[in-house]
């Protein structure tokens, strides 16, 4: 079991841990003597803390600077103790330690009482999801083992925890220096006969894997090691909750793609028929679908994760420079990594006194509640229901500078369309010949090519020429004129009135494209000055990887970043040849 020790600087965490190791006989021969000898050589009084603070640098500063891992065992079980530091500058190490812990020991100095970091660490333990907490009132020897002092500190701290809704399982009066109530009771605290620290640790429950919750597996990769003669296509990842069996229908978010588990793969082990949370696994699918790292696999018959571009979150910021609304960051959640900005800061929680303030930036060590706006939709869960897939970090300039939990997935402009697409994917009736079989037969990867540009640009000429050229090279291609859609499929829409619904028009076009793509064809359409909102809509319907955007003209007049740009002054054939070059590069068509 992983246990983390947290608390304010100099409240005696390392001493408590050192004492615990010594009293449980957990030190290798020679280790204790080695440190003792070094202390003697350097004319320093020996302290148990030196066992933990094994580095010269730390001894110089006399504070633990990192989440050192220490192995130890009681009669009941094995422990990894993470001796997290309390110095204010080192909160990121405490987070590192606490992130892996199943239980926490929070140490408060009886003499100094509750300090800023006693509260901050308590808050972070809550955010990190640790619910098994023991609070040690340490250095009881400095207050003559006085029961009144103990009770006052306990009352003070519990008042703070009540606001978070946390109830520690134990408050224990201890002395790390003298060994009181660490492994055995002490006559100086005869008034305390409840659990020692060791009893308390042994009473913690090993967190049971969340097998009864909905299945979630962030996709780490799609493996196809054809270079080693292995043709299996394996969806790899670690199950964060629930379980999955052969024959289960899986749905991947945010794409909404659906397939069925064909087999679980394993090396030098039996292939399982079912996997549960915690398993690092990989499976093959009966129907090949295009999915990518970053998606979350779930089961069709279980509650789905949320998909949104707008998330209300609680986060802690560890960067020296503040997190500000104008700046772009990266959010990493599960295996997804997406650009984001702050849309709105709801409140900053000052962990030192737990009051709320309104600020326009999130400073070093602030804990904030805010709304993040993502560049693309992400799949996630809410912290109250599925902890693992609600946890994220913020990356700024190559470094993890913050982390937090998703409290709420807010609606965005694409929510409605996505819901329709997810339902379509679940209800889709496969044709007897798969898209991949067609792809092989037609020797092409089906997609939608959008030829766009300003009103004056020669979109239609380019589209027609491209269609002819692809057809002549044996491709299965079709040009669909927008007018044909407007007066056909869209005939029921009031196109030229105030109730004109461009989004519905675009949605229908995307659905038509989706059918063409499933049929294995390359579809070419033209559109005047297509913008990012249109593209997002089309992509959420048919997938990012199936859309190629060609802009006609030397200047892009909308907010899109086209795959390709051609000059209107160029010879038509030259333009078409260069578009074909791009299609080859993107694997739509292949070199002859």
């Amino acid at each position: 079991m992983n246990i983390v020790f947290v608390g304010h600087v100099d409240h005696g965490k390392s001493t408590v841990v050192g004492r615990l190791l010594a009293e449980t006989g957990s030190l290798p021969d020679g280790k204790l003597e080695q440190i003792q000898a070094r202390c003697e050589r350097e004319s320093q009084p020996f302290e148990y803390a030196y066992l933990i603070d094994a580095l010269k640098e730390e001894q110089a500063q006399s504070i633990t600077i990192d989440a050192a891992r220490v192995f130890f065992h009681s009669n009941k079980r094995h422990y990894i103790i993470i001796d997290a530091p309390g110095h204010i500058e080192f909160i990121k190490n405490m987070v590192t330690g606490a992130s892996r812990a199943e239980a926490a020991v929070l140490v408060i100095d009886a003499k100094e009482g509750v300090q800023e970091n006693s509260r901050r660490h308590g808050y972070l333990l809550w955010m990190l999801g640790i619910r098994q907490i023991v609070v040690l009132i340490n250095k009881m020897d400095l207050v003559d083992f006085d029961e009144g002092v103990f009770n006052n500190v306990v009352a003070d701290y519990q008042q703070f925890l009540d606001e978070l809704g946390i109830k520690p399982m134990f408050y224990i009066p201890v002395s790390g220096m003298q060994g009181a109530n660490i492994a055995v009771h002490n006559e100086d605290t005869a008034w305390y006969q409840a659990e020692t620290l060791l009893d308390a640790l042994d009473s913690f429950q090993k967190a049971s894997p969340p097998v009864d919750l909905p299945f979630r597996m962030p996709v780490q990769d799609i493996y196809k090691f054809t270079q080693y003669g292995d043709s299996r296509r394996i969806v790899a990842g670690s199950v964060s909750s629930g379980k999955l069996a052969i024959g289960d229908r899986v749905i991947f978010y945010p794409s909404g793609k659906v397939s069925t588990v064909n087999s679980f793969e394993a090396y030098a082990a039996e292939q399982p028929g079912e996997v549960i949370s915690g398993s690092a696994t990989g499976f093959t699918l009966t129907k090949q679908i295009y999915i990518q790292r970053g998606e979350i696999a779930s089961k069709v018959d279980e509650p789905p994760p949320y998909v949104s571009k707008r998330l209300r979150v609680s986060l802690v910021w560890l960067g020296q420079k503040p997190m500000v609304p104008q700046k772009q960051y990266h959010l990493k959640l599960g295996t997804a990594k997406i650009r984001c900005t702050i849309e709105h800061i709801d409140k900053i929680i000052d962990a030192s006194d737990y009051s709320s303030t309104e600020k326009d930036r999130i400073e070093h060590h602030d804990v904030a509640q805010c709304v993040l706006l993502l560049h693309a939709p992400i799949a996630c869960d809410l912290s109250e229901s599925l902890a693992d897939t609600s946890r994220f970090v913020i990356v700024d300039d190559y470094e993890i500078r913050g982390g937090g939990i998703v409290l709420e997935a807010l609606p965005d402009e694409g929510s409605q369309i996505r819901e329709a697409v997810f339902l379509r994917e679940r209800k889709w009736i496969d044709s007897a010949v798969s898209m991949y079989q067609r792809s092989e037969r037609y020797n092409q990867r089906s997609c939608l090519i959008i030829v766009t540009g300003t009103e004056e640009s020669r979109r239609k000429e380019v589209a027609h020429q491209l269609e002819k050229s692809l057809f002549q090279s044996g491709k299965f291609v079709y040009f669909l004129g927008i007018g044909s859609v407007i007066y056909g499929v869209d005939a029921d829409l009031k196109l030229f009135t105030a109730t004109d619904d461009p989004q519905e028009h675009m949605r229908r076009l995307a659905e038509i494209a989706h059918i063409f793509i499933d049929a294995g064809l390359i579809l070419i359409v033209t559109a005047r000055e297509i913008d990012q909102a249109d593209l997002n809509l089309i992509r959420s319907s048919i997938g990012n990887e199936r859309v190629e955007v060609v802009w006609n003209g030397s200047r892009v007049t909308t907010d899109i970043n086209p795959d390709f740009q051609i000059d209107d002054d160029d010879d038509l054939n030259t333009s078409v040849t260069s578009i074909k070059g791009l299609l080859m590069e993107h694997g739509v068509i292949f070199a002859p």
Binding site: L27, L55, R69, N93, D221, F225, E265, A280
Partner: protein, 298 residues
Amino acid sequence: MTGNHMDHLQELENISVYIFREAYANFKNLGMLWSMGKDSTVLLWLARKAFYGHVPFPLIHIDTHFKIPEMIEYRDRIVREWKINMVVGSNEQALESKQTFPDGAIDRISCCQLLKTEALRGVLTGDGVRYRFNHALGEYQREENPEPFTGVIVGARADEEGSRSKERYFSPRDRQNEWHIAEQPPEFWNQYKTDFATGTNVRIHPLLDWTEINIWEYIEREKIPTVSLYYNQGEGTRYRSLGCYPCTFPVKSEARNVREIIEELKTGRFSKIAEREGRAQDKEDGGGLESLRREGYM
């Protein structure tokens, strides 16, 4: 008890596999150090677990030319059998000018610095000479225009000695390959440092939470082939930790197989003796390998 123990091994394997896959997804120029010792051989086995029998990145061995000969024989046998993409590098300059401890020129620590740390730095940056095993020809060939490695998987365990317990799963090294212990990034949950500036590299530690006993129990469970030096061949001695022959000494032990090693570690005379007690250089470095590691030692 045995049942629980197997579960713990499975948990460790799951976490390690997850780390391997994160490394492979995020680092284009990924490599893995393989010293042929038990830890990095378990690492190699875990890579094959993660990637379904394949090792889709090169293994790197820093050859000091003072390694125990059985280690090199074992290396090349596994390389052939498992079709490993093997890269070997050395500090050729120091070896040619005999700037080594066995040649009597320098002390043990300086020797480690030159033949291991410096050689590793050269191999990782691509400044040093690299030899790659050519499976078609069955021999090592000098590599032209080596690219720098941006991610390096290493078999360090937190329980080995003080400084290793301070590592992250993903620990950055700067342009000089140096480690800034006080400035390490945070690791929230299972999110690691997978973004890095040009010229820096990241050390990846899938075995950080494994203990020496876990390693042997896993070798037993998985029947992983290991070098014979770890076992008593009838002379009442074996190596507990492998390294260069001038500085690594066998320990007295009757253990002839993996099971007997595990018994010995749990109940025998080794249950309370540090694993690296047979490694002479540790004793000369008061910081517990720390000064070596700061400069890039494994």
